[in-house]
Every structure is written in C-alpha cells, then in structure tokens.
Symmetry: C2
Subunit: 233 residues, 2 copies
Amino acid sequence: MSLSVRKRAKKGPKSLVKGKATRDAVVARALEIACKEGLAAITIGRLAKELRMSKSGLFAHFRSKETLELTTVEWAREIFEQHVLLPSGSVPEGLERLWKLCDSWLEHLEERVFPGAYFFTGAFFVCAGQRGAVSRSIVQVMEEWMRALKQAVKQAQKNEEIDPEADTSWTAFEVNGLLLGAYWAHSMGKWWAWEDGRTTILRKLQSLATKEVPSKAFDSVGAFRKYLKKRSG
Amino acid sequence: MSLSVRKRAKKGPKSLVKGKATRDAVVARALEIACKEGLAAITIGRLAKELRMSKSGLFAHFRSKETLELTTVEWAREIFEQHVLLPSGSVPEGLERLWKLCDSWLEHLEERVFPGAYFFTGAFFVCAGQRGAVSRSIVQVMEEWMRALKQAVKQAQKNEEIDPEADTSWTAFEVNGLLLGAYWAHSMGKWWAWEDGRTTILRKLQSLATKEVPSKAFDSVGAFRKYLKKRSG
C-alpha cells in the first residue's frame, strides 16, 4: 500500500465530509467566475488566492484544470436541467411542453439562476467550433436542449396542434432564435425583453397552430396560459 | 531628457515601421486566440511564448493587458464594420438595406471572416452584464449593429415597405434573434443553416410587408434578390 493510499484509508467520515465541502466550495467559486467571465478566466492560482488555499491543495482535489472545468460545467448542467428541462416534464407532451420549455428558459434568465451570461448561451457560441472535452461537454448540454425543443415540436405536430407540414428541426431552431433575441434585448438593457419575448413565442406558435387550438387562446400570454390550464384541468 | 525618450528620438523611420509590424503581429495573434477561446484566454505570457518575444518587449508595446485587449476589440470592430455594416451603405435605405444587413451578417459567418465564434456574438453574451472598458467596447459594437438594424426598419416603415404599426425596436430584435438562431444551427453542424436563415428572414419581412412590395417578390430568396435588383436598376 502506497503512502497516499494509506493516508486516505486512515481518513474517517469527518474528513471525507470536509473534503467534499472544500471541493464544493472550489467548484461554486469556479462556477461564479465562469458565469461572469467565461471558463478561460478560471485559473488554479486565482482560485487558490480567493479561497485562501494552497495551489497544491487545489490540485489534490482536481488533479488538472480540465477536471475542474469539467466539474464546473457539470454543475452548470445540473442547474440548467433542474430549472429549464425538468419543469417541462410535468406538463403534457406537445404544444404545452413546447411553451413550458420556452417559458422556463426565459424564467431561468429572468431570475438570474446563473449570476452571469456565460452558461450556456455565450459558452455555446464560443465553444461550438472547438475541440476538447470541456467544449464538447458544453455543446452536449445545448444539444440536449435542442433535442427537447425538437421533440416538443414533433409531438405537437403528432397531436395536430401545430402544422405537420412545418419543418420540425428548423421550427425548433427558429423558436430558439427568438428566445436568443429576447435574451439579447435584455442584455441591451431593455426591460420589456422578457414580456415581448413571450409574446414573440406566442405569435410564432400562433402562426404554426392548426384549428385544433382555438384562435382566442392566442389573444395574449395570459389567455394562452388560461387555455392550457383549462385544457389539462 | 530621459534615457528612454532619447532612445526613442534616435529611432529612424525603419525602426518605427518595425515597431508597427511587431505591434500588428501581436494584435493579429491576440485576435486569433480571442476568436477561438475568448479574450480571457489572452495572456502576455502566452503571446510572448508563441511569438518568441520577451514579456518586457510585449509590455513596451501595450503597457497593460487591458490596452492589448482594447486594441484587439478595435481590430475586430473594424473587420465587423467592413464586412457587415459598410456594405449596407451601398444600397438604398429601408427594406433593401435591412435585407443587406442580414445578408452580410450571415455572409461574414459563412465566409469565416473571424476564425472562431467569439466576436461578437459569444463576446456580447459574456460581456453584456460586465463592467470595465473592454466589455463596454464589445457592447458598443453590438449597439452599433442594433442601431443599424433599427434604423433600416424605421426607414422601411417610412417608405411604407413594411407595416408602420409594427414595433420598430422589437422588430429589429426579432430579426437579430432569427439571425442568431441560424448561427446556432450552423454551430450545431447544420449545413442548411445559412440557406434556411435567409429564408427565415425573408418570411419575417413578408409577414411585415405592405402592399407596396409585390407578393411575388417573396417567392424565394432568389426572387427577392431579383426584385431588389430590378427596383434599383
């Protein structure tokens, strides 16, 4: 048994908990930096200084900068799933789920779930063309997001809620673009961005809707929410 | 006269040219790194190593990392203006200019004018919420872009080419969103992204157009280009 393994074997539950807490504190701070300045702004030196740890102590937890970055992306992914993807699972598949995905996406920005604009929109644009495990993991989260949107469009077409002739994949990308446009407007300081963003999505859904959805449902975002609630209730 | 001033005074035109060339080489490399990995990935140490210069030599040219970053953004701004904003000045104001802005924007990505996705979309999302001169300079370029879009929409409304009742500002943000959606699709490896992006913009313009624009013009991107050419010729 090597010295380090013996050392680890001697550790009781208390030090394991402390190890986890330290690790979590490092990732939390790394996530905060990345949200505001991007993953490239994370350095072991900066983290060690800010958390008053030794560089070697940090290395003991993560072994490499890449592991630290991957762990940070993993945390961000969990937050994104929890706030954007999972809530949509509670509503019926199809038009309602499509709306819920868009609504939750806008909401997670509105509520500043991430304290900066890097995850995942900024990160996706920066990382999409790059090689490497970290870029890949960021792109994967956005692929998951696009799959959820596309699946919702497809199901809405199956339900005959939206035009079955519409290009499923492109519709998902258009919806995503309109969401990005709203985020952009908000980032330019437009206070009406979230409200108008929801209205834009509603107009898009209206333009695709079949006669299965009463036209009154599209009178306003409020009217649409009421319609969905009544329908499922 | 201090030693450094005397030294500089002794420099002939040749060394001034050489100084400019070195400076340009540094900024060119910094721009390349930023395009692919973001501004945060630029460090004086990395540049010095890659360009086989001394760190102090680099500092003599830029004095601070911030100056280097600002110069890099300035270069990127010039490229963006040259490829996206300036070409639109050669066509009449209004609907045609709005189309040209969108077309040039897609084209500068299609032709990979920047060797990565940081400038300016990724950078804008990362920097919009941040303080500091560098973030501010990035946001300013995107404000210039949005002003150009908005001005084109406004003029198209004045020309009665598009619905004067449409919200000018929001229409500009929607158009921008649809462009971002196309860029996103391309970044996900969709080869049809640019073509479908142009069609999406055309459909948006069609939905806003007044009867001043013959409906035939919206049959396809090719038909729209022909219509614009015929009109101005």
